[in-house]
């Protein structure tokens, strides 16, 4: 079937197209060349006057896996207020802070998003993460395997094993957990907490392994680079949420010694200690450093006001925060010599000094960071806010007067501590398209997504231009997923199952000898059962596994 999308105003930053009126052709789920005149167009959409972009990509969203499901499980009161009723196209579900999988897929698609990446896929829990994501319809997904506090890796570092061995382990993890990237959370800190360490600074040793977070970061950034994986090491730094952590974050940028690194939800890591309340914005310093260090990218993790739930592998910090939760409950876990998790419901309030300043800090980072290819639009769903608030966030970025109106409602002490109202910048549609499409695809390593060039998967979103950007981005006219019309006027009209993106770098399978011994001695599961097969993801007809290209070994260490 040949589909023609006629006359839309196209924003495709991957091809430097900034609002050019053009036609797009789609066949068998892909964007194709303009066919010859003799070919019949099976279906045509008149998009004159409409804004056309690739489907949006959320490069950091907690949509599947143990802690997300714990968040769902522990919040019946949040679900009760937001039932998702059965429609002709959609099954029912629920969802606000921690939506059900089905509802998650529908709601993303309805906002024009066609992919989302679970950033904290604990390898031991990878099967569950994928099972959940495979039950998340329409959108493509993938995960970043979380290591760095796992005992196997820390034993390797403590034993000073060479970088090649570490690279092999990292590659093995990517295969075994069907992941597309590697993440580290509070490097070494989750492990240290199991030994009753309550904080871990960049150069502080784990009392058991005598390994520092700096060493963890260095070996992992290098492993990811040398394996040729597109997505740089995804780093949730030490000291999340701690006033003064801006210093840790700046040091972390330097610690990776020029290797590519992605600092996630950087807003939570940009706090100073100035002012009467010893809490201030470190946004300017962070943005300046981001502008300078071209090897560093970041997503913001914007907070927005209202009820949500924080879910993190960082149980050291979540334990410390659990007393601030609202409603007051929390689930914390030590997990399988692999990781941990902490789930704490949270309510951000605009009249709360800290929350109001967090809000301003996030926006300051967005607006002071110059290169939209290296800064990404996230709320760290659901930690800063549910992903359904993205249209609102886009409006905050694109509309200065709206932003300043919101700012004026904040806690007055927080207003006094922020420079936000003095920032003139407004994001353009082109920049939004970079942040949420082209840049995100490039960062994650999705070669056929995030752009509208020939050969790309036909994930396309069509909007009606509207000065109210929140209204515009909340309700696309059309969303095509792999060439199929899945959303019309902001409503799902057809449910498809997206694919799972992975990366499978080459590695020396000899590593399995050590791993098998480790599993047999210390684990409670067999190594073979630890590994998730692609076939399992495709079970029940829930989509396919796509292996994205990795560049092959780079500068393999002798």
């Amino acid at each position: 079937m040949l589909i023609k999308l006629t006359g839309g105003r196209v924003y495709d930053p991957a091809h430097n197209i900034d609002g050019r009126v053009m036609d797009i052709y789609v066949r068998d789920g892909r964007i194709v060349e303009r066919p010859n005149d003799a070919e019949t167009i099976d279906q045509e959409y008149d998009l004159r006057g409409k804004v056309v972009m690739a489907g949006a990509i959320d490069m950091h969203t907690h949509i599947g896996g143990g802690k997300v499901n714990i968040a769902r499980l522990m919040l019946p009161e949040d679900h009760r207020a937001s039932p998702a009723v059965h429609t002709d196209a959609c099954r029912s579900g629920c969802g606000h802070a921690a939506p059900s999988t089905l509802t998650t897929g529908y709601r993303y698609a309805e906002m024009g998003y066609t992919a989302g990446f679970e950033p904290a896929l604990s390898p031991v829990n990878a099967r569950q993460s994928h099972l959940e994501m495979c039950d998340t319809p329409i959108i493509d997904k993938g995960g970043y395997a979380m290591i760095g506090s796992d005992d196997f890796f820390l034993r390797m570092l403590a034993a000073k094993q060479d970088q090649n061995a570490i690279n092999d382990y990292v590659a093995w993890i990517l295969h075994a957990s069907q992941a597309i990237g590697i993440k580290v959370v509070n490097p070494g800190g989750i492990n240290a907490f199991k030994f009753n360490q309550r904080a871990l600074n960049l150069d502080e040793e784990n009392i058991h392994y005598k390994v520092t977070p700096r060493e963890v970061l260095q070996s992992l950034t290098r492993a990811v680079y040398e394996l040729g994986i597109a997505h740089p090491l995804h780093v949730h730094g030490n000291n999340l949420g701690v006033p003064g952590n801006v210093e840790t974050t700046l040091k972390t940028m330097g610690a990776v010694e020029g290797y590519p690194v992605h600092l996630t939800h950087i807003q939570f890591h940009s706090y100073g200690t100035e002012g009467d309340r010893k809490f201030s914005s470190g946004a300017a310093a962070i943005a300046e450093a981001l502008n300078k260090h071209k090897n560093v990218s970041a997503d913001v993790g914007q907070i927005l006001f209202g009820q949500t739930v924080t879910a993190s592998g960082d149980n050291m910090r979540q334990f410390a925060n659990s007393g601030h939760g609202s409603p007051r409950k929390s689930v914390l876990m030590d997990i399988e010599c692999d990781s941990g998790c902490g789930v704490v419901p949270f309510k951000y309030k605009d009249q709360n000094f800290v929350n109001a300043l967090q809000w301003a800090i996030g926006l300051e980072i967005f607006l002071l960071t110059e290169d939209p290819w290296r800064i990404f639009l996230t709320t760290d769903h659901p930690n800063g806010a549910p992903f359904t608030s993205y249209p609102h966030l886009i409006r905050l970025l694109m509309d200065k007067s709206f932003r300043n109106d919101m700012f004026a409602k904040l806690n007055l002490d927080a207003q006094a501590m922020s420079t936000l109202s003095g920032i003139e910048r407004e994001y353009s549609l082109y920049e939004i398209a970079i942040m949420t499409r082209a840049g995100a695809a490039k960062l994650v390593g999705l070669h056929d997504r995030g752009h509208l060039g020939v050969g790309a998967g036909a994930d396309i979103t069509v909007y009606t231009d509207n000065a109210d950007r929140e209204a515009m981005f909340a309700k696309p006219d059309y969303v095509f997923k792999d060439g199929q019309l899945v959303v019309r006027n902001g409503q799902v009209v057809k449910v498809t199952w997206g694919s799972t993106h992975t990366v499978k770098p080459e590695f020396d399978r000899g590593i399995e000898k050590d791993l098998k011994k480790y599993f047999d001695t210390y684990h409670t599961m067999n190594m073979e059962n630890f590994k998730v097969s692609a076939a399992e993801l495709e079970e029940d007809g829930r989509g396919h596994v796509i292996v994205q290209e990795s560049k092959g070994r780079r500068e393999k260490t002798a």
């Binding site: 143990g66 009723v85 099972l131 199991k194 210390y522 399992e536």
Partner: protein, 449 residues
């Protein structure tokens, strides 16, 4: 070479074409097999298969495991009112019952992830309420998660870290026979030179089988027994003592306060204490409040040292059932689609209450693992979809035998600690359909009706 069986993709495509899964399974040995009916999901089993598909366990495991894998195969076919029939006719009868139902219930739910996906789909289409056969015990834990939350740990952490294990009201082994062998008396551990030195304390209960708590060198565990129904009080006393409250009583339920004080000191001195319980063993009303007291003890201990709870559950796939239900609907079992959206009411959506008050008028009982788990007696028309060896005193309205996940069907199962999901292997051929096949067929027919 170990036989990995049919690969999943192959199997899946096969299933799509055919409602049964028969194929060739030559004689051989299969490794890394997990026992899907039990929450520990120990996957170190080695199983041999003869050319007829008879299985023999090669490990020392436990009687439940042996019974599961070595149960002789008996021919089984769908039945309507106890009389053999074709699968299609049986499904048609189910559809007839369910399409007329004003409030259908799907319970039992002893299955795996793939089975639960089909359950959720059917429940949504049929407007059904769902519950699990073990919900009486697992709900105690879920209510705590939903109320205060908790700090808990997982099996490998226990295996490598625990220095003091406190077990509440159970010997554990009655429910999880291999618990001590697998995670306490393991020879090697990453953070303990000598696992033999691990301290074991049993608190509450009577006449427990505490022999498995004796260390390999013969060191006996400490046992502080009390009647089961006094456990709430003993736990409250321990929590008060650990929190430093002035506690006046000199004994509680026959346990000397001095002994509780000693236990409190040991817990505070431990580097990584683990407090374990099983929902099933805490068989007294409102046990969730006692579990909340346990989690309060853990919370207090974590102010200065490290401690974690270990809720042991997951038999008959209950951890699987509530996880899948939660990600698809937002709620664990004891929820319902009757209103057109998921709705949760653990007090009212409970199988025996729903049957007793006649609230539900049709029941599908799903039971894959233990053929003895028959549906509760009731006047409600009942469909049983389950283990082919199930026997009934009163034949249900419809019985549909299915392929057992982890035996005759592939699958995925959650372990007790909910953090680990393991693949289940298809170990031999069967003519029987999977639960997913049957439920999808029922759902399709209901939609068409």
């Amino acid at each position: 070479m170990p036989d990995q069986g049919m690969d999943l993709e192959e199997l899946n495509s096969f299933r799509m074409e055919n409602m049964t899964q028969s194929t060739n399974f030559p004689a051989g040995t299969i490794e890394a097999v997990a026992f899907p009916g039990e929450g520990l999901l120990s996957d170190d089993l080695v199983i041999s298969r003869d050319s007829d598909g008879n299985l023999a366990l090669q490990n020392q495991a436990c009687s439940k495991t042996t019974a599961f894998f070595e149960r002789p195969r008996t021919p089984s076919s769908p039945q309507i009112a106890g009389k053999p029939t074709e699968l299609g006719a049986a499904i048609a009868k189910v559809v007839e019952l369910f399409s007329q139902s004003r409030h259908p219930l799907i319970s039992g739910l002893a299955t795996d992830v793939y089975g639960m996906r089909a359950v959720m789909n059917l429940a949504e289409t049929a407007g059904a309420t769902i519950d699990h056969m073990n919900s009486k015990s697992s709900m105690k834990n879920l209510l705590v998660i939903q109320n205060s939350g908790w700090y808990v740990t997982t099996l490998s952490e226990v295996k490598n870290r625990v220095d003091l294990l406190l077990v509440i009201g159970t010997d554990v082994v009655s429910y999880f026979p291999r618990f001590f062998d697998r995670v306490i008396w393991n020879k090697e551990a990453m953070f303990t030179d000598n696992t033999d030195a691990r301290e074991i304390v049993y608190l509450g209960g009577r006449d427990l089988n505490t022999a498995p708590g004796t260390s390999p060198s013969g060191r006996k565990p400490d046992v502080l027994p009390c009647d089961l129904d006094r456990i709430p009080e003993v736990l409250a006393a321990l929590r008060a003592i650990i929190s430093g409250k002035p506690f006046l009583a000199t004994e509680v339920a026959g346990i000397a306060t001095a002994d509780l004080e000693k236990l409190a000191e040991r817990l505070k001195a431990a580097k990584y204490s683990v407090i374990a319980w099983t929902g099933s063993a805490l068989d007294f009303p409102h046990a969730e409040l006692s579990i909340q007291t346990i989690t309060g003890i853990v919370e207090h201990l974590n102010k200065t040292t490290r401690s974690a709870g270990l809720p042991l559950s997951g038999n008959d796939g209950d951890v699987t059932a509530y996880n899948v239900s939660t990600w698809i609907s937002g709620y664990p079992f004891r929820s319902s689609y009757r209103r057109g959206y998921p709705d949760y009411d653990p007090y009212h959506y409970e199988t025996s209450a729903l049957l007793a008050e006649g609230e539900v008028d049709a029941l599908i009982w799903i039971n894959s693992f233990n053929p003895e788990r028959v549906p509760p007696a009731s006047k409600t028309p009942t469909v049983v979809i389950g283990h082919p060896a199930m026997q009934f005193e009163q034949p249900p309205a419809v019985f549909i035998p299915i392929a057992i996940p982890g035996l005759e069907a592939s699958g995925a199962q959650f372990r007790s600690d909910s953090s680990v999901t393991l693949p289940l292997k298809k170990l031999r051929a069967t003519e029987l359909p999977t639960l997913g096949d049957v439920l999808s067929a029922i759902e399709a027919a209901l939609k068409a009706a």
